[in-house]
C-alpha cells in the first residue's frame, strides 16, 4: 500500500479511540494510512498491506502485534501472570505465545519448517464477545472502559468461554477453577523486549492522524 498523501480516507482523518475500536482486531489490508500514522504505529506500509500487523484498541492506546518482531522469549506471558496472578505461568496467561512456539495448531512454530513463524495471540476484545455470550453464569461483563472482565464470584470454571472463543483465549485456572481473560493492563507490551507487542498512546495516534 502506497504511503500517499492524496488518497484520503476516513482513517486518515481524526482518529479517536472509538473509531479505532471499530477497527480493532480487523485486518488493515486495503485501508489507507498516512505516513505519519504508519510511523506512529512503528510498522511498515508493506506489513500493513500484507496483513502481518494487527491492532487492538486498549484504554491506554492501540496495541500493535507485529509477528515478525516476535522472538519467542515468552516475557509477555511472564509479565501477564506476575501482574495478574501473583505467580509465573504460561498456561493461564492472558496473552499466549507458547502454544504457537513449538508445533501450533496453525502448522507454525519451531518444530515445523514454517520459517520461524511464532507470535503472541491476544484477546480480541470482541464487540459481541463469544466468551461472554457463552457463559452460562453471565460472569463476563464489560467495565466502564469497555474492558471485558470475569466476575470470579459468578464464574464456575466450566470452560464454556474457552470453547466458545474462536481463539481459545480465556483460560480456566486449573488451581482456582476460575476463568481469566485479558483485562488490557498492558503489562505484556510494557515488558516486550523486541517491540512485537507495543501500545501506541492515543494522543500519539490522534496527533499522527491529524498530520498529512
Amino acid at each position: 500500500m502506497a504511503e500517499t498523501k492524496d488518497r484520503k480516507s476516513f482513517l486518515d482523518k481524526d482518529y479517536t479511540r472509538r473509531q479505532f475500536l471499530k477497527l480493532s482486531g480487523k485486518s488493515l489490508v486495503g485501508l489507507t494510512f498516512s505516513a505519519s500514522l504508519i510511523s506512529a504505529l512503528g510498522v511498515s506500509a508493506k506489513s500493513l498491506a500484507e496483513d502481518k500487523v494487527r491492532v487492538w484498541a486498549f484504554p491506554q492506546g492501540l496495541l500493535v502485534v507485529d509477528a515478525d518482531r516476535c522472538v519467542g522469549c515468552q516475557r509477555c506471558e511472564i509479565n501477564c501472570t506476575l501482574t495478574n496472578d501473583g505467580c509465573c505461568s504460561s498456561y493461564i496467561s492472558r496473552v499466549k505465545v507458547t502454544r504457537n512456539l513449538y508445533s501450533s495448531r496453525n502448522g507454525t512454530g519451531l518444530y515445523t519448517e514454517d520459517n520461524w513463524t511464532y507470535f503472541p495471540d491476544t484477546c480480541r476484545q470482541c464487540k459481541k464477545p463469544f466468551c461472554g455470550e457463552a457463559c452460562p453464569m453471565g460472569a463476563i461483563y464489560a467495565d466502564d472502559l469497555g474492558v471485558r472482565r470475569v466476575d470470579t464470584e459468578k464464574c464456575i470454571g466450566c470452560g464454556a468461554c474457552t470453547e466458545a472463543c474462536p481463539w481459545h483465549m480465556p483460560t480456566v485456572n486449573p488451581v482456582t477453577h476460575k476463568s481469566s481473560k485479558c483485562v488490557m493492563c498492558g503489562a505484556c507490551a510494557e515488558g516486550c523486549p523486541s517491540g512485537a507487542l507495543s501500545i501506541v498512546p492515543w494522543d500519539m495516534i490522534v496527533s499522527a492522524s491529524q498530520k498529512t
Partner: protein
C-alpha cells in the same frame, strides 16, 4: 493463589523414573535439597548419595538428573536453563559432569511441577518419558528410534499437541557415542555425553507440558527488578554492554562484540521485508532484544541477508540464536532453516582443512557460495544442522580441532591404514575437497555410527588420544603430544580430554584456574563477559572490577601481570558463581551483571542482583553471602567427587598432579615473548605453581594434593564427604 504447592520458588517435587521397573515416584525437594539450591546442586547431591563413583557410566546402575532451580521460570530474565548431571563416559577419571541446555523446556518442566527428574535403570525397548503435569508415563518410541533430533522433536510435538515441548537424542546417543547430546527447541542442546547415557537407557526423548505455575513471594518486586535489569544493566549476549556500532546515545563504541544491533543492521528475511534493528538505548525495555545479533558477530554483515529473526530461550530478553533461512543449502538438498550459536556454527571450516592436489600443492577446500567470503556462514549453517540432527556434541570445538590436527599432521591417514584398512577409500573426500556442505552431514553421520574411523573422534579427546597414540610423541607419526604441542588448533587446557573455555588466552591465570576445575570444559563466562564487553579498559572495566574486587584483580588483554590475592578472589567468585547459575538456574552467558550499560550508574553493575531475585521469589531474605556459601558447598562437592572418581577409577591420590596439570603450550606459545610482556597471553610456569598454591588455599584444599580438607568440608556441612575421603585415604 494460582499455585498448588504453596512453596515460593521451588516446585517442591522431584520425579523419579525407573526404566527397569517402570516405577514412577515422587519425593519432596525440600528440605533435603535446599542447601544445594536446585539444578546442578540437586544433581550432585543425588549422584553423591545414590551412585558409586566407579559405576559404569553407561551401565544399568548409572543415573542422570535433569534439574531446574528456584529461579527457573520465576519471571527472572535469562532463567530458561536446564542442567543435567551424569557421570562422564569420556573424560579422564570418568567423574561428575553436567549437560546444560536452554530453549524452552526448563520452563515447561517447572510449570509441570518439578524441580528435578532422576532417570535410573534401563529400558529394554525404545521409550520416551511423557510429562503432562502430574501425569507421567513411559511411552513407546520405536517409531522415532533411529531418527534425527529435528524429525523426532517435530513428530513427538505433533503427536502430543501444541503445548508440548520436546528434547531428544539423535543416532549418536542411540549408538552410545560419547560425544553426544540432547537437543531441544531449535539447536539448543546439552552435551557432555548425555546422549549416550540416555541411549544406554533407550530413552529417546522427554516430552513435557506444564499447565501449572511457579509461586512467587513478591511478584511485582520480581517484575520491577527485571525491568531494572533490562533497562540499566544488561547489554547484548555475553552481557556486552557497549554497542559495537555508533549510536547517538552511547558514550562509547566497542571494537567488536555481540551488541551488533544498530541502525542499518537488518533482518532481511523477515516475512514482510527487512526489519531494521535501530538504536537500543540503555534505559529502554522494548528494544533490549534488538541489541544482540549473533549472526553479524559470527559472520559479518553477510548474515543479515539470511536472517529471519533472533531467537533464544524462555524469559530471556537477549536473543543469541540467530534464526536463518539459508537458501544456498537448498541447492544441495539440505534443510535451509538453521539456528545455533557459538561453537557448533562458527567453526565448521575446521572440517575442511587444506588438502593436497595432484601435484602435492596445498589448496583450500572451501569456496564462496553466492557472495564473497560466505563459506564460513553457509557451511556453519549446514554443520550446525547436521551436528544437531545426528545428536553429536563437539566438546567445545575439540571434536573438529582433533580432526583438523589429525588430518594435517598425517595421523588420521596413518591410523586409518593401521586400524581400519580399506575404510579410507570409502570416505567421500571429494566432498571435503570441493567444499560441499554435504560433507558435514557425512562427517556427523559417520561419527554417530559408533564404529569406524570417524566414530573414534566421537570417543572424545581423552579416549581418542589414547586409542590413536596422540597423547605420546612416541606413539604417533607426528611425534608430538597433542595435549601439549603448540598448534593454533590445540586448545586442550590439560590432559583430561577437554579444552579451555576462555582460559589463558583471554582471562590470564584466573581463566586457567577455573578451566581446570571441572571434568569437561568449564563453561564459565564471568570474566570473558567483561573482558570482551566492549567497555574501554581504563575508563570502565578496570575501575568497575577494582570497585568490586580490589586493586590489581584484573589485567588488560594481552598484557598480564603476576598472580596476586585479588586475582584469586576474582577467580574464586567466578568458579563458585558458575555453580550458582547452573543451580538457580540463571544463564551464565548473561549473569552476573558486572558492568552496566547505564552511564548514570558509572557503568557499575549489580553483583547482588541474583540474591535480590532470590529474596523476591522465595520470600526469604537471601544475601550474596548466602548465595556464595551455597555455591561453594556445591563446588566443594564437585571437587570431592572428582577426587573420589580419580581414586576409584585411576588409583590417583593427588588432583594437583593428575587432574590440574596444565598443557605445556600454555607456557610455550609465542616463543618471541617472555611471560607478562605486552602482546602475549602465554603464562609463566613458576607463577602458575604459585597460582595453584594460592587457589588451593583460598578453596580450603590441601596444597600438595588439591583435595579439600576435613575442616573445609565440615564448614559446608559435608561431613559425609570428609568421611569418604578419609576412608579412601585421600585426607
Amino acid at each position: 493463589m494460582s499455585v498448588k504447592n504453596g512453596i515460593n520458588g521451588w516446585a517442591g517435587t522431584i520425579l523419579r523414573v525407573n526404566l527397569t521397573t517402570g516405577a514412577i515416584t515422587k519425593e519432596d525437594t525440600l528440605p533435603k535439597y535446599k542447601p544445594f539450591i536446585g539444578g546442578m546442586g540437586i544433581g550432585y547431591k543425588v549422584i553423591w548419595d545414590e551412585v558409586p563413583l566407579n559405576t559404569d557410566p553407561l551401565g544399568p546402575d548409572a543415573k542422570c538428573v535433569f534439574g531446574v532451580g528456584p529461579l527457573t521460570a520465576s519471571g527472572v530474565p535469562c532463567s530458561g536453563r536446564m542442567n543435567i548431571t551424569l557421570l562422564s563416559c569420556w573424560s579422564k577419571g570418568y567423574s561428575i559432569v553436567d549437560a546444560h541446555m536452554g530453549g524452552h523446556i526448563a520452563h515447561a518442566f517447572k510449570y509441570a511441577g518439578y524441580d528435578a527428574m532422576i532417570v535410573e535403570g534401563q529400558s529394554d525397548k525404545p521409550v520416551y518419558i511423557r510429562i503432562e503435569d502430574e501425569k507421567v508415563t513411559i511411552e513407546d518410541a520405536s517409531h522415532v528410534w533411529g531418527k534425527g533430533t529435528f524429525e523426532t522433536n517435530a513428530t513427538l510435538a505433533k503427536e502430543n499437541g501444541p503445548e508440548f515441548d520436546v528434547a531428544s537424542i539423535g543416532p549418536a546417543g542411540e549408538n552410545l557415542v560419547p560425544m553426544s547430546n540432547i537437543v531441544t527447541s531449535f539447536g539448543n542442546s546439552g552435551g557432555a555425553g548425555i546422549g549416550a547415557l540416555l541411549g544406554s537407557k533407550k530413552v529417546k526423548a522427554v516430552v513435557v507440558r506444564g499447565t501449572g505455575a511457579v509461586k512467587i513471594a513478591e511478584p511485582m518486586k520480581v517484575r520491577l527488578l527485571s525491568n531494572y535489569m533490562i533497562k540499566d544493566l544488561v547489554g547484548g549476549n555475553n552481557n556486552h554492554t557497549v554497542p559495537c556500532h555508533a549510536q547517538s546515545w552511547s558514550e562509547y563504541v566497542a571494537t567488536n562484540n555481540r551488541w551488533q544491533g544498530a541502525p542499518g543492521i537488518t533482518w532481511d528475511k523477515a516475512s514482510k521485508g527487512p526489519i531494521d534493528m535501530g538504536e537500543q538505548p540503555s534505559g529502554q525495555i522494548n528494544v533490549a532484544a534488538l541489541r544482540c545479533n549473533k549472526g553479524v558477530f559470527d559472520f559479518g554483515e553477510i548474515a543479515e541477508k539470511y536472517t529471519v529473526k533472533q531467537g533464544g530461550c524462555s524469559s530471556c530478553p537477549v536473543r543469541c540464536y540467530t534464526e536463518y533461512d539459508m537458501d544456498p543449502l537448498a541447492d544441495y538438498d539440505l534443510p535451509t532453516h538453521v539456528s545455533n550459536t557459538c561453537m557448533p556454527i562458527i567453526k565448521m571450516l575446521e572440517w575442511y582443512p587444506n588438502h593436497k592436489d595432484a601435484d602435492g600443492n596445498s589448496v583450500p577446500s572451501t569456496h564462496d557460495f553466492v557472495d564473497e567470503k560466505d563459506a564460513k556462514m553457509i557451511l556453519g549453517g549446514a554443520g550446525s544442522r547436521a551436528a544437531d540432527e545426528y545428536g553429536v556434541w563437539c566438546n567445545y570445538g575439540n571434536l573438529y580441532e582433533d580432526f583438523n590436527m589429525a588430518y594435517t599432521t598425517g595421523v588420521l591417514k596413518d591410523v586409518a591404514d593401521k586400524l581400519y584398512p580399506g575404510e579410507w577409500d570409502e570416505i567421500p573426500w571429494d566432498l571435503m575437497e570441493s567444499g560441499d556442505p554435504r560433507w558435514l552431514f557425512e562427517v556427523y553421520r559417520r561419527i554417530s555410527l559408533g564404529k569406524g574411523l570417524f566414530s573414534d573422534l566421537g570417543l572424545g579427546t581423552y579416549r581418542l588420544y589414547e586409542k590413536w597414540g596422540m597423547d605420546d610423541p612416541a606413539k604417533n607419526v607426528a611425534g608430538v603430544s597433542f595435549y601439549d604441542f603448540v598448534n593454533g588448533k590445540n586448545f586442550n587446557i590439560g590432559h583430561n580430554g577437554y579444552p579451555r573455555h576462555h582460559g589463558p588466552e583471554n582471562c590470564w591465570q584466573a581463566g586457567t584456574l577455573y578451566s581446570m576445575m571441572y571434568n569437561r570444559d568449564c563453561m564459565i563466562h564471568h570474566l570473558i563477559n567483561f573482558c570482551s564487553s566492549g567497555a574501554p579498559y581504563n575508563e570502565i572495566t578496570k575501575p568497575v572490577l577494582e570497585h568490586f574486587f580490589g586493586e590489581g584483580c584484573t589485567d588488560p588483554q594481552k598484557h598480564y601481570t603476576p598472580i596476586n590475592e585479588n586475582k584469586i578472589k576474582l577467580a574464586k567468585w567466578a568458579f563458585i558463581g558458575k555453580q550458582w547459575h547452573d543451580s538457580a538456574t540463571l544463564c551464565n552467558w548473561m549473569y552476573p551483571m558486572t558492568i552496566a550499560t547505564s552511564k548514570k550508574r558509572n557503568y557499575i553493575g549489580d553483583l547482588d542482583l541474583d540474591a535480590k531475585y532470590m529474596t523476591a521469589v522465595t520470600g526469604e531474605e537471601y544475601t550474596r553471602e548466602d548465595q556464595e556459601r551455597d555455591s561453594e558447598r556445591i563446588s566443594q562437592l564437585l571437587r570431592v567427587m572428582t577426587a573420589v572418581s580419580f581414586k576409584l577409577n585411576l588409583g590417583s591420590t593427588n588432583l594437583r598432579k593428575d587432574h590440574d596439570k596444565v598443557s605445556e603450550w600454555v607456557f610455550d606459545k609465542e616463543p618471541d615473548f617472555k611471560p607478562f610482556e605486552e602482546g602475549t597471553v602465554k603464562l609463566d610456569r613458576e607463577d602458575w605453581e604459585k597460582s595453584l598454591d594460592m587457589w588451593y588455599e583460598a578453596m580450603g584444599w590441601n596444597k600438595e594434593t588439591g583435595i579439600p580438607t576435613r575442616a573445609t568440608l565440615e564448614k559446608f556441612d559435608l561431613k559425609d564427604c570428609a568421611d569418604k575421603l578419609e576412608e579412601l585415604g585421600l585426607i
